[in-house]
């Protein structure tokens, strides 16, 4: 509880400090809107030209796109400490100050930054979700609402875990390792579309190794009444937990790696 209180307190402080430069904040938020709007326009134009992707129709595609962008940008917004700032903390040696405080390192890293500019990206994602639900005539029930919340929450942890891997490499290498971007940003771009679009190796990568399909797309497809995998219905409630489990493993790895941390600051 204490951790959550601390986190919320830091978020409030950080957001207030960012609002000190309203003009710059506004421009950057607008830029984010154009960025995510551009991505969405690409999906709309593709749907306009091709009508469907295998068995997925226009509404389904907007739905998957929206699910991914809401989750991804929630992570970028509230997990900014990991997704953006961590290499900077390592390079400048600021991480040292975290080590002498009586709180967990990862907690403090998460408390160190927030990115409220992403709000427009999240809004675009929500718009896509609503559009997708309407076009695919989704009938909402209580379990489906629960599934949706679960998918987004578990996807959040999965993405946070993937960005933490980048942090772990960064502890060893001091410099940020762009290679992991293939999993994080690449995963986002790839899993805006249902994984059954891809040839087997890529499908396996995003189902087993980096379970975007299990965490977000299986529950998503059940909401659309077009299950991605032919499994019993209850599995959709269990499969998202794989994202949280992966985050747990990566968190243990992170703690292990912190033992080898050598300060780069002076």
């Amino acid at each position: 509880m204490e951790t959550i209180r601390l986190y919320l307190h830091s978020m409030r402080m950080l957001i207030r400090s960012q609002m000190q430069y309203p003009a710059s904040f506004f421009m950057q938020t607008l830029a984010q809107l154009v960025m995510e709007g551009g991505e969405m326009m690409a999906v709309i134009l593709l749907v306009d030209r091709f009508e469907r992707l295998n068995r997925w129709e226009a509404g389904d595609l907007f739905f998957f796109f929206g699910l991914m962008s809401v989750t991804f940008y929630l992570t970028e917004c509230f997990g900014r400490g990991i997704t953006g700032n961590f290499p900077h903390l390592i390079r400048t040696g600021q991480l040292d100050t975290f080590l002498i405080r009586p709180r967990g390192t990862l907690t403090q890293v998460l408390c160190s930054a927030v990115d409220p500019r992403r709000i427009t990206c999240i809004a675009v994602g929500i718009a896509a979700l609503v559009m997708g639900c309407n076009m695919s005539h989704v009938l909402w029930t209580v379990p489906k609402v629960f599934l949706m919340a679960e998918a987004i929450a578990c996807g959040f942890f999965l993405l946070l875990g993937l960005f933490t891997i980048e942090g772990i490499f960064c502890i060893y290498a001091v410099k940020s390792v762009e290679l992991v971007n293939a999993l994080t940003y690449g995963g986002r771009s790839a899993c805006e579309y249902p994984v059954d679009t891809y040839p087997r190796p890529l499908r396996a990568l995003f189902t087993v190794l980096v379970p975007f399909a299990l965490t977000m797309q299986q529950p998503g497809s059940v909401i659309l009444d077009k299950p991605l995998f032919d499994w019993p219905a209850w599995t959709a409630f269990v499969s998202p937990l794989s994202g949280v489990a992966l985050f747990g493993l990566i968190w243990l790895w992170f703690r292990k790696t912190m033992q080898y941390y050598r300060s780069a600051g002076s």
């Binding site: 830029a31 154009v34 551009g38 593709l46 030209r49 295998n54 410099k175 293939a182």
Partner: protein, 263 residues
């Protein structure tokens, strides 16, 4: 002239330094390329288009290979303006615009060659339908290369206009982000311009963003026949001249009212 050449050479050497980062970047770009091609392939299977799929695959690879040409900017200038060391640059017996123009050309050229050449080799050996196809004709290749050179000059002129905004506002992340994103969308990086609705094609191919990579790629794949090349290259040339002229005027006005920060 000699001074500009050595500025070019210095910048090129700096760009070659970070080889590790380049390797990571290449692998990332390749991954993105494969994912995009897989999506377009699945879409094509559902509803084939008049344009052969090999053109789309080549389009994606060429865009990924020259990605660095679009998105490379010079952070030095921003720092110099913020710290006030721009004063040193103002003392040089060189045209400030020319100096930075040469630097940005060097950065974009070196960066994209270092990344592009290995990627294109990889894309050429990929199986049929996944990789880069050979150019439509020797003439197409030559015209494509000429278009690429003009595109490089054009994108550098665009970059310098963005920099002009940086000079004005000190914190230009918003403006820069906005212009970069327009570039990503309308240069065909997010979605090949050839897949935009046909009715849009007439307009978007005339925008300056289409001159950077879209024109050379169309000439390479044979989407545009060599007979159309003179018209396309002329549009590129016009945009390059216009943007350069605008940039020079913009910078001159900025220089007249520049304030040196710091102390």
């Amino acid at each position: 002239m000699k001074a500009y050449l050595s500025a070019f050479r210095m910048r090129r050497r700096l760009e070659v330094q970070y080889r590790g980062a380049v390797l990571g970047g290449i692998i990332c770009q390749m991954f993105f390329g494969l994912v995009l091609i897989a999506v377009y392939k699945a879409l094509y299977a559902g509803k084939p288009q008049s344009m052969p799929f090999s053109h789309i695959a080549s389009y994606v690879w060429l865009q990924q290979a020259f990605f660095r040409m679009l998105l490379a900017s010079d952070p030095d200038l921003l720092d110099k303006i913020r710290t006030g060391s721009i004063a040193y640059d103002l003392c040089r017996p060189l045209n400030l615009y020319g100096f930075y123009y040469v630097r940005i050309v060097a950065q974009k050229l070196t960066g994209s060659l270092m990344r592009g050449v290995p990627m294109l080799v990889f894309a050429l050996i990929l199986p049929e339908g996944w990789g880069l196809s050979m150019p439509a004709s020797p003439a197409g290749l030559c015209l494509g290369l000429a278009g690429l050179m003009l595109g490089l000059l054009c994108v550098s002129a665009l970059e310098n206009i963005t920099m002009g905004f940086t000079m004005r506002t000190l914190d230009s992340r918003g403006m820069q982000g906005l212009l970069n994103l327009l570039m990503m969308t309308f240069s065909g990086n997010i979605l090949p311009l050839t897949l935009f609705p046909d009715s849009w094609q007439h307009v978007i191919t005339l925008l300056p963003y289409a001159q950077l990579l879209d024109t050379p790629i169309r000439l390479y794949t044979g989407e545009a026949l060599p007979a159309e090349a003179p018209r396309m290259l002329l549009i590129q040339l016009c945009w390059t001249l216009l943007l350069t002229a605008l940039g020079i005027l913009f910078w001159q006005r900025n220089q007249r009212r520049i304030e040196i920060q710091g102390g």
